[in-house]
Symmetry: C2
Subunit: 357 residues, 2 copies
């Protein structure tokens, strides 16, 4: 894909953020892929030295010229920054892999999960490829494998989303709240006592420690949250099923990192528990941990920091032989963001997606 | 209902436990209903003095004779204790209101939620009435109201269950775990670090603090948990719909008390968001808190200690005009146990169920 000789040049735009930090870690795991990894951030962070591939690299300011000689750029910046800067980079011949929500539903921008729809990455008229939302990414690799085998017809999901899905500020708020309630054995028994102990509930609209909050994202029409619409619209686009029946309720839970979902999926054909488990056991990027007799199922605190989509609690719905119920977990900062972006970059460079370690 | 003159006599069997404590509180709120409230427990607790209706009452040992002169008995004891003792009490003419799982699916024992199926309480050939599981009770009052209006056809639920659903030991384990992790801002970022900090995960099979655990109850056939089967079987029986399509995934969350569920319900007719909200706003025992523009939705930490079933996030499913998605919360120790039992007792005595305050 590179016009110049040798290995391509990668830029990480937003290198100082929570996802940018994980992007530097993930890129360091495949250090031999790039001739240069350029770190880019806002003027405020320019000049800082940050580690990548075992060396300290000076962060450069986001300007048009910073893209000179760059082949691929992974963006993890707010929507409005992507909206402005991704086209600038693309106009200079850079392939942009964008984590923001700015272009995900643009029909001229593919929305790519390398294990599910790698071929979509080839057709990118704007020079931009989007990375799905972290909640969609927590389930889509497992769901894509089941869809290939059995043909998905309907999806009902309920999420258990981690605080860091709201960025570093979300994680910090949860730590702060946990430190305020952690030693108090009287809390959680009277209405509002947790709220009183925590004070300002911060970015979640209600206390998150010792609580769950049925809200994520911003308000859309008819009471839906943006996060719930993302699950529907992105799943439809990634699977190439614009009419797929999807519904969900998104709920924040007091977990630092690691999104989970309870999924009820209905397929075109009957699916036994054993058939579903066989497909999931063989699916690239999926780790099946499903032995309830031994108490084995995935939990976010056990899988945080790992790459796969973890699946457990696989069951055939008792009243619908076409239905499968399961529980999935994934690290929202790795596969849910940085890793999926790096896999797309690797797919473009090598022609194949690197599998989670 | 009483053969003797004056007000009836109530016994609370299992008066010293977590639910028994709330039973004493709930009974004290309608202190004028009973001529006597007799407290009964195992031999180990006999002789203790416990408060009820503003006075100290000596706990009596569970023996056949303790039921002499009793009209109604509310049992909150383990399944095997109910199995043995409920028939003994019933054979002495006592109407037993049993919180255990021992008789819930017995066709000769009605399973009663006063707001939903009060008439079922009249037909009790064994002299026993069962109280549903706390997870079913967290949603069934809201669901029953929607069913009466629109005709329920299918139910998909995902639970967010509190630690005290596993009894006082569950709540104690969560407090203990929270005290171990509360001040530590490095946890929750690497696989298993929460597990290492907590040590023995206790009754949940995995750490619950800073985590969610996709398991509740004991293992049944084909990977289902007992809790998931209870939601299905009890909902069918309470609504009188033996063939209702039900599926669910039960998940424990780090909340002390207050069960929540994300519910997707499909009805016989089209249901608009407004129509569903009107039904819920008028439903006895339901409190609608659903104003996402103002950030208003129920959370377990805000509603713990209250009586109603709280409902928020009401939406019409985007791809099915017959579908409604919503989020419900209820106190698993009050409506989920003690309050529902007391409402049944009141229904039998007065002919009408007391409404949550």
């Amino acid at each position: 894909m590179s016009a110049h000789s040798g290995k391509p040049v990668l830029a990480i735009v937003g290198a100082t953020g929570a996802v940018g930090t994980v992007m530097r870690e993930v890129v360091s795991e495949r250090a031999d892929l790039w001739s240069e990894v350029r770190l880019v951030a806002s003027a405020r962070s320019a000049g800082r030295r940050l580690p990548v591939r075992g060396e300290e690299v000076v962060v450069r300011e986001l300007t048009p010229d910073v893209f000179d000689g760059v082949d691929l750029a992974m963006f993890d910046v707010p929507d409005e920054v992507s909206e402005r800067w991704a086209p600038i980079a693309a106009s200079r011949g850079v392939v942009v892999i964008d984590k923001s929500g700015a272009f995900r539903l643009d029909p001229q921008v593919p929305l790519v999960v390398p294990e599910v729809n790698p071929d979509d990455a080839a057709d990118r008229p704007k020079g931009i490829i989007s990375v799905p939302n972290c909640t969609t990414l927590a389930m889509i690799v497992a769901l894509g494998a089941l869809h290939r085998a059995f043909g998905l017809r309907e999806l009902v999901a309920a999420s258990y989303q981690a605080a860091s899905g709201a960025g570093q500020a979300g994680a910090d708020a949860l730590y702060d709240q946990l430190s305020k309630v952690g030693g108090n054995r009287t809390l959680g028994q009277r209405p509002g006592d947790v709220r009183a102990a925590i004070g300002d509930p911060g970015p979640f609209g209600a206390p998150l420690a010792m609580n769950v909050v049925p809200w994520a994202g911003s308000l859309r029409d008819e009471g839906w949250s943006s996060e719930e619409l993302k699950i529907r619209n992105e799943t439809r686009k990634i699977l190439g099923m614009p009419d797929l029946k999807v519904t969900s309720t998104c709920v924040r839970v007091p977990v630092v990192t690691g999104h989970s979902l309870a999924v009820h999926a209905v397929f075109e054909c009957e699916v036994t528990r054993q058939a579903a488990r066989e497909v999931l056991a063989d699916a690239p990027g999926v780790e099946l941990k499903d032995d309830p007799e031994r108490g084995e199922f995935p939990t976010p605190a056990d899988i945080v920091g790992t790459d796969p989509t973890w699946v457990g609690r696989v069951r055939q719905s008792l009243d619908d032989p076409h239905g499968i119920d399961l529980f999935v977990c994934g690290d929202n900062l790795r596969k849910g963001a940085a890793l999926n972006a790096a896999q797309i970059a690797e797919l473009l460079v090598t022609g194949q997606a690197g599998q989670p370690s």
